[in-house]
């Protein structure tokens, strides 16, 4: 028994209609549509934004600080609190914690640093790309805290890496950390390319 098949070359009325629509649209769409400009006021259209190179570069730097994921002790949890939805450091453009120091420009030193861990932190700092900044968060990061004369604790991160902003507290509340970040942003805003290519 043979099965009747429609020949492959035949075209139905529906297919012909569909093809005509496509051909019409293609023929009438050869040039791109113009973007809508009705919402622009005429005064803005004629304006030019003026700024300095310093202001533009500093604005870009201070509004996209990317912290590196390198935390040694318990102040980390206040940083986690600051970085999640309640305190939300995403407002400052820094919610992305980079797992690689090559992609980061901010080292938030949260917690006690032991001499055994110190070479790794120094190495992380040296691997970060310029320009880079350091926030010492909490009493241990500032001075060693209650462990300042211990046999195994570094008495302050500034023995290992240069510190830009000290955030006191044991641990500092997220609001305190946000205040420290705000201070760092003010510090970055004062940089100038005249002084050097980097931050100092």
């Amino acid at each position: 028994m043979e099965i009747e098949r429609e020949p492959l070359t035949s075209s139905t009325e529906i297919e012909n209609h569909e093809g005509a629509i496509i051909e019409d649209l293609r023929a009438s769409s050869q040039n791109p549509l113009s973007d809508p400009t009705e919402w622009l006021e005429k005064t803005i259209e004629r304006n030019i934004l003026l700024t300095t190179v310093d202001a533009a570069i500093n604005w870009a730097r201070k509004t996209s600080l990317w912290p590196v994921t390198a935390f040694t002790a318990c102040c980390t949890f206040e940083f986690i609190g600051a970085s999640s939805s309640r305190f939300d450091i995403a407002r400052f453009g820094m919610e992305v914690l980079r797992a690689s120091p090559r992609q980061a420009d901010l080292l938030v030193c949260g917690g006690t640093l032991t001499w055994k861990m110190a070479p790794q932190i120094k190495r992380l700092y040296e691997q970060m790309a310029e320009p880079k900044w350091v926030i010492a968060m909490g009493a241990c990061a500032i001075s060693g805290g209650i462990f300042h004369d211990s046999y195994s604790v570094v008495p302050g991160y500034n023995h290992i890496v240069p510190v830009d902003v000290y955030v006191p507290g044991c641990p500092p509340r997220p609001e305190t950390l946000l205040a420290g970040i705000e201070n760092l942003r003010r510090k970055i805003a004062q940089n100038s390319i005249k002084k050097s290519g980097t931050k100092r």
């Binding site: 001499w115 055994k116 004369d149 211990s150 046999y151 195994s152």
Partner: protein, 149 residues
């Protein structure tokens, strides 16, 4: 073998090792000479099969080592206390009885400077190679105290 109470433990140890062993409750004071044999007997004959921890205490005249050993069968604990001299403290290692003793003995060596004879890998574990002194000893000096407070 299950041990009913500390009285029975005391009498067991007395009959096997003589009068040199003092039992206060679950604390057993022993001498260095009998230490290894007592530990082996506790593990292999009395069912104290788990070495829970090793630590040391720095007294004025001597170091004291504390071994906490547990028996799961009868839910019992015994603590061996062992005095050793202050000048050159050496005690036998228990690493051939319990593998876990290796790390704990290294920690005691690291922080107290007590040597364990026959330990297969006795070196610092928490602090780094080249660290001067043993920081949990009472005579270890820290900065602010060095300067006369």
């Amino acid at each position: 073998m299950n041990i009913a109470d500390n009285q029975e433990l005391s009498s067991h140890l007395r009959t096997h090792f003589g009068e040199g062993i003092i039992v206060h409750g679950e604390y057993v004071e022993i001498t260095i000479g009998k230490f290894e044999r007592v530990a082996k007997y506790l593990k292999e004959s009395l069912g104290y099969e788990f070495l829970s921890m090793i630590t040391a205490i720095d007294y004025i005249d001597y170091f004291e080592l504390v071994y906490r050993i547990e028996a799961f069968q009868n839910k019992a604990t015994v603590q061996l206390k062992l005095k050793c001299e202050k000048v050159k403290p050496v005690v036998p290692s228990l690493s051939h009885l319990w593998y876990g003793a290796r790390l704990q003995e290294r920690e005691v060596y690291d922080l107290f400077g007590i040597e364990f004879s026959n330990h297969p890998n006795l070196k610092r574990i928490v602090l780094w190679e080249g660290f001067q002194g043993y920081p949990l000893r009472k005579d270890f000096k820290v900065k602010s105290y060095d300067a006369g407070n």
